[in-house]
């Protein structure tokens, strides 16, 4: 058994009322890593977390902890602790008693509990609030109590179910840094669940992108962003223009009616592929110098840069640029070889990466709907 893998999921399938939630999922979680399950709501990420916590048993497949099968071991006997989405703090207990809860269940001596609780509260910057009632704390403080309560038990793995979803943006950013710091300080495995791609990229050692009960890609944040495996990953992480292309030969691809040098190889001759170009990797140049030409159809100013939509032969590209352009301008596009990423065709091909129906409002709306 590999000692490096603290949790292993093997061919896990789960269904509720005939609806498949997890479909033959396998994953190894390394000891002491910060791993994030990222995906839209309903992708199965929380279900996976609950399987590891022991609140749920798989219909098929095995959950292994330190190489030993733990199917059927109840939650209260597992060496993992969870931070719940809405904290689930005990409302009838004060801060001290909430943090001490797990230690009291273990029947530790009182002085040891006191020492432990104080150490934990110090770690999450809540010293001095021991006697405060849970109801009187702010959302951020409640979050910290939840963290202290979970790590007071010295779990080998800490499971975090969208713990920052209820906090406002500023606080969320602070807590992201702090959680990362706590993880490094304690040297334990964090399994983090979120639908926020930015959060996943900034905090994780490895990201697991999920959709439809399946793992779409596992890798470092850089891998996931720079080398997405299919159109779903490319679209879910950051913004992407995804167009149909044809691999003419190694390092040479044709799309949008033009031919480009690229850095990808290993495809069949003339294989049909998905081509990803990130909006920030496209340069806008005068029409006569462009590899592609198009017409600007919309411009929005986002502070750091402009986000403009360019119509190229009916396909709408999103381009981020610091120069100002105006609607109906004719522009040329210049794309460096290393800005082009080639992916195999998948079930997601053609579903994403076109900005023809794009609008700021729709993006906002889908954010709200994503809240579970």
């Amino acid at each position: 058994m590999n000692k490096e893998n603290i949790v292993q999921l093997k061919n896990i399938s789960v269904a509720f009322d005939e609806q498949v939630i997890l479909d033959n999922l396998s994953l190894d979680i390394k000891d002491k890593e910060f791993i994030t399950f990222l995906g839209p709501s309903g992708c199965g990420k929380t279900t996976t977390l609950r399987l590891i916590a022991g609140f749920l048993e798989p219909d098929e497949g095995d959950v292994l902890f330190e190489g030993k099968k733990i199917n059927g071991v109840p939650a209260y006997k597992r060496q993992v602790n969870t931070i719940f989405q809405r904290y689930a703090l005990f409302p009838h207990l004060n801060v001290y008693e909430n943090v001490a809860f797990g230690l009291r269940i273990k029947k530790l001596p009182e002085n040891e509990i006191k020492q432990k609780v104080e150490e934990m509260l110090k770690l999450v910057n809540l010293s001095g609030l021991e006697r405060r009632h849970i109801d009187t704390l702010s959302g951020g403080q409640q979050q910290r109590v939840a963290i202290a309560r979970a790590i007071a038990n010295h779990p080998k793995v800490l499971l975090l179910d969208e713990p920052l979803a209820a906090l406002d943006l500023k606080l969320r950013k602070d807590m992201q840094k702090e959680l990362k710091k706590i993880q490094q300080q304690l040297g334990i495995t964090f399994v983090f669940v979120t639908h926020d791609q930015e959060e996943a990229l900034t905090m994780s050692d490895r990201v697991v992108v999920m959709d439809g009960g399946k793992i779409q890609q596992v890798g470092t944040p850089q891998d996931i962003y720079n080398e997405p495996q299919n159109a779903f990953v490319a679209d879910f992480i950051g913004e992407s223009n995804i167009v149909d292309g044809k691999m003419l030969k190694d390092f040479y691809v044709e799309f949008s009616g033009a031919k480009f040098d690229c850095l990808d190889k290993g495809f069949d001759k003339n294989e049909l592929v998905d081509v990803v170009v990130r909006p920030e990797d496209v340069d806008i140049v005068p029409v006569d110098k462009g590899m592609l030409t198009g017409v600007v159809t919309s411009v929005s100013f986002l502070g750091v840069h402009y986000e403009i939509i360019v119509d190229i032969g009916g396909f709408k590209w999103m381009i981020q640029t610091t120069d100002e352009h105006f609607v109906d301008d004719k522009v040329g596009l210049y794309i460096e070889p290393d800005a082009i990423h080639i992916m195999k065709k998948s079930e997601y091909s053609g579903l994403y990466g076109d900005y023809s129906s794009y609008s700021e409002e729709i993006d906002h709306l889908s954010d709200i709907i994503e809240e579970e």
Binding site: A53, A88, F90, H92, D135, A150
Partner: protein, 271 residues
């Protein structure tokens, strides 16, 4: 307008409480006259203390009220937990309706049907006198149960389902998690349910009348007394019962407002 509405409230209070007020006043009358207040005295209350029939009845009533409140609180709380755990919507609402029927049902129907059942079952076991303490206790538990369930249920619904998960996550068995986490969060519901049950049991007449046999409770003794002639000691007794119920109701209301305040605080805190 304001004066009118005040008058309205005053009239309502007058009609509601005038009879009780008159009764309380006359319970302190030194003579047994119902027309003239001849002087203040505690004589009727003193008389009560030495009246053994009254004292036995009081003891019966208290014993039934306390034990039926306790038993129905335990059973009702367990039932509420069970009903909420039923996954199927239809089944759970069916069970709820069934438990609510005794509350809607006319007391006299409940009383007569319980009496018939007790006598029938008693006969099966060859008992001549099946009605007594046990039967009146069972009857009181029966009509108390829905009230306990109704006061525990909303508290249980408000409780975050993740609390049990959190407790188990921290090492509690499901059983321990219930006592350490769920019970404290629904305690106000349980206490109000118990107070409701106690007061209902205390002043029940109709159902007790049919099921108590020779184990007579206070309301029944009072009723029997009035069949002969109404004496001021009845007023004294009724006054005591009224005050007891009044105090309990105030306690009940205080608990309710306290738990509402807590719920409001929790909402603010969550934001």
């Amino acid at each position: 307008m304001k004066a009118l509405s005040r008058l309205y409230i005053a009239l309502i209070l007058l009609f509601l409480y005038a009879p009780v007020a008159v009764m309380i006043v006359f319970s302190f009358n030194s003579s047994s006259s119902v027309w003239v207040f001849e002087g203040f005295s505690f004589d009727w209350y003193k008389g009560l203390i030495s009246d053994t029939t009254m004292l036995t009845a009081l003891e019966h009533t208290l014993s039934i009220a306390v034990s039926s409140a306790l038993i129905s609180t335990v059973l009702g709380t367990a039932a509420a937990v069970g009903i909420l755990a039923i996954r199927k919507k239809l089944a759970s609402s069916a069970v709820m309706s069934i438990t609510n029927i005794p509350m809607m049902n006319a007391d006299i129907v409940t009383g007569v049907s319980l009496m018939l059942l007790f006598i029938f079952v008693g006969n099966l076991f060859g008992l001549h006198e099946s009605l007594g303490k046990a039967t009146v206790l069972i009857a009181h538990i029966t009509f108390n149960l829905p009230y306990v369930i109704l006061s525990v249920m909303p508290k249980l619904r408000q409780t975050d389902a993740n609390l049990v998960d959190a407790a188990m996550d921290l090492g509690c068995t499901p059983f321990k998690a219930f006592f350490k986490v769920i019970l404290p969060s629904i305690s106000t519901g349980i206490i109000t349910g118990a107070i409701m049950a106690f007061t209902l049991s205390l002043d029940d007449f109709v159902i007790s009348y049919f099921t108590c046999g020779k184990y007579q409770t206070l309301p029944i003794v009072i009723y029997n007394m009035t069949k002969k002639s109404v004496t001021p000691d009845t007023y004294a007794l009724s006054t005591i019962i009224f005050i007891a119920v009044f105090v309990l109701l105030i306690l009940y209301n205080m608990l309710q407002t306290k738990s509402e305040k807590q719920a409001a605080m929790r909402k603010v805190g969550a934001k």
